[in-house]
Subunit: 407 residues, 2 copies
């Protein structure tokens, strides 16, 4: 497997376009279109929030139906959540506009939205956007890149990635894009992520691979502990790579899953590092926990704690806050087994050893914590399970962005 340039248009048969439909922003693109020349099997995971956006409910229906998926329309600016029947009608109007322009059955068109909750989408602008974008669909890497920019809200950088790997002697490509960067605490999925691949795979196996990989990638990041109403990950596979169809969990399946893991982890880490107001990536790596669930819970608690996040911002080796977060996480353990280290490209330092605080060099700790990516490494010494979670620091800018987000 090797990383290659590009994103959602890297795989064969996928095109993209974007436009400025004027939904909320004045001077930037705010709609994106991802399209496959041929129908795709599709896997997806969605928010576990009880308050699901209209578009989430629309997409869940398609993914659960077994119908093919061939197009996704995404808008930024307005989330189409808490919008009642009018919001659901907007999804259908968007999908029907695609049918009218390109002849794709509207039940094969997914829609996704991100932005302010509790505001209605302007349907005329959506339809105008679909008409405009239908004329400029393009398989170039530039078109994919432009799409990844159009779906941004408070993100400061666009997020895309692609890999190439071999399946049964055929080259397969998997690419994707995603966006953050607030209300990020995915639970069964992330904010918005769209993956495209030309692999030939059965739908049920695609869904299984997606569901499993998401657990250790997108579900292990947090920016602010707020699980969004709109979390959506869609993975479309159009089969154009020409490999014999993957219909069992063989070596080909494992190779695909590895590629999927790489792409999802890459995008997830990008989202964490670009969390609202963030100045650095904050990673928690837990090893030797009693079981996988405990390792996940512990590492997420560390990166999810406001006090831990503020300490990371202040480059303060205040390790008690990380132990405190582990303690209320819900996982059971004995503090007398725990070893805790700070780690970055500038070094690694143990600060707590099996129940007792260590005396350590504050200057060395500061040097380690001043890096752009800081890891809290925890050895539980109670088993052999591990997990890694990603978040970011809590800064003045997070408060600033969110105290006047709507206006």
């Amino acid at each position: 497997m090797k990383q290659i340039n590009g994103g959602v248009t890297a795989a064969q048969g996928f095109k993209a376009s974007s436009c400025a439909a004027g939904i909320k922003y004045k001077d930037r693109t705010d709609m994106a279109f991802v399209y496959s020349e041929v129908p795709c099997v599709c896997g997806g995971t969605f928010t576990s929030n009880v308050v699901k956006a209209a578009c989430v409910q629309w997409d869940q229906k398609i993914v659960n139906s077994g119908d093919p998926m061939q197009a996704v329309i995404i808008n930024s600016g307005i989330a189409n959540a808490c919008t009642g029947k009018e919001g659901f009608d907007a999804c259908e109007a968007t999908a029907r506009a695609v049918e009218k322009c390109l002849g794709v059955r509207y039940t094969s068109v997914a829609v996704a939205s991100t932005g302010v909750i509790g505001m209605q989408l302007p349907v005329d602008k959506l339809v105008y956007g679909v008409e405009t974008m239908s004329k400029s669909l393009d398989g170039s890497l530039e078109a994919g890149c432009a799409a990844s920019k159009a779906i941004m809200t408070t993100d400061t950088v666009n997020k895309e990635v692609a890999v190439s790997f071999q399946v049964g002697g055929k080259e397969v490509i998997l690419g994707g894009m995603s966006k953050g960067s607030g209300m990020i605490h995915p639970n069964m999925c992330t904010m918005l992520a769209f993956l495209t691949t030309d692999i030939n795979i059965e739908k049920s196996l695609l869904q299984q691979a997606v569901s499993e990989v998401v657990k250790d990638t997108f579900n292990m990041i947090t920016v602010d502990g707020d699980t969004s109403t709109n979390d959506t990950l869609l993975c479309m596979a159009n089969g154009l790579a020409g490999n014999s169809v993957i219909s069992e969990k063989n070596e080909d399946y494992n190779d695909f899953k590895k590629a999927l893991f790489f792409v999802c982890e890459f995008l997830a880490k990008k989202m964490a590092a670009d969390g609202e107001g963030a100045s650095k990536l904050f990673e928690a790596k837990v090893v030797n926990a009693k079981c996988k669930d405990d390792a996940r819970i512990l590492s997420r608690a560390i990166v999810g704690s406001n006090l831990s996040k503020a300490a990371i911002y202040g480059c303060d080796a205040n390790f008690g806050r990380f132990l405190c977060a582990m303690g209320y996480s819900g996982a059971d353990f004995d503090q007398n087994d725990v070893e805790l280290f700070f780690e970055s490209e500038n070094g690694k330092l143990e600060v707590f050893h099996r129940g007792t605080p260590l005396e350590f060099d504050e200057d060395e700790a500061l040097k380690i914590m001043k890096a752009d990516a800081v890891t809290v490494f925890v050895n539980m010494n109670e088993g052999d399970a591990g997990a890694t979670a990603w978040g970011c620091d809590l800064t003045y800018d997070y408060v600033k962005i969110n105290a006047d987000y709507r206006s």
Copy 2:
């Protein structure tokens, strides 16, 4: 029942003192002593954090033993958490110093600490503090007030309250003090709270009343979602009011529980409003939920969300964030049943009605949200259970305080 002046020294037979022992702060008092002339029955609740401070473990032993309690020594500056055997030895040394000075058996002396985690307490300073304070124990309201100031860390105001009520023709007094103001997300109890009363009551009933009242008072506040390692509430009852002992759940018990509720709610709301960096009290009132647990979960999720808290700081009527928090709370409900209002001393405004956003006057919303205390009022329309939770807004100052708390 009527509110009266005072705190932990308001009830008969209770004395307090405080001193500057130089544990961490240079120019302020940092130790407090609460003492009863006669042995007390005692109820207590403690943090559910797996990582429990040494002092929490010490106090739990006393409360569970059935031994009387007669004194509490509290220090601020260092939390005595994550300190191994050395930390536990510091508890015993403190209690033995009290025995030496006042003849109170060391197993009747509770200890409590608040401050930095993972740092050892200077035992010589603790012992010096006990010796100094033993000489100045005093039953005046001023001595109680001084004690409530000595236990503060990042609190900006001290918190104390007292009430007087009748039990079987006798006047009973209940007073208390508590402190916040970060790492506040109590689970079975709050950071530190000490209640003293001269009521005559059996230990098991005192414990029951405390455990029940805490659920709807201290356990309903949050500042930052971080459940501390040190949460401790102790309630000492010395019986000097002279009422016939309360040994069953009769009217006297109910009168005591009402007084206890008033005192705990008063202190809990004070702690929420004085949360680290807070500029206002943020209340969530949920009515007509399916069950009490759901009502508690929903109201806590609203005041616990970083995005909700930032919106409250920015006076932004961004109601979608509150619905989003309810949605991921874990409670099940239908968004099409929900009505959501903003409320304060400046008015009440419905913004979301049974699944649909309402058009509302932004100026009126702003006026309501500019008050010092803002309530999000939610009618679930699905049952008859209610709950109220309290928190505070998320401000620049929260980040500032916690990015350099230790140094």
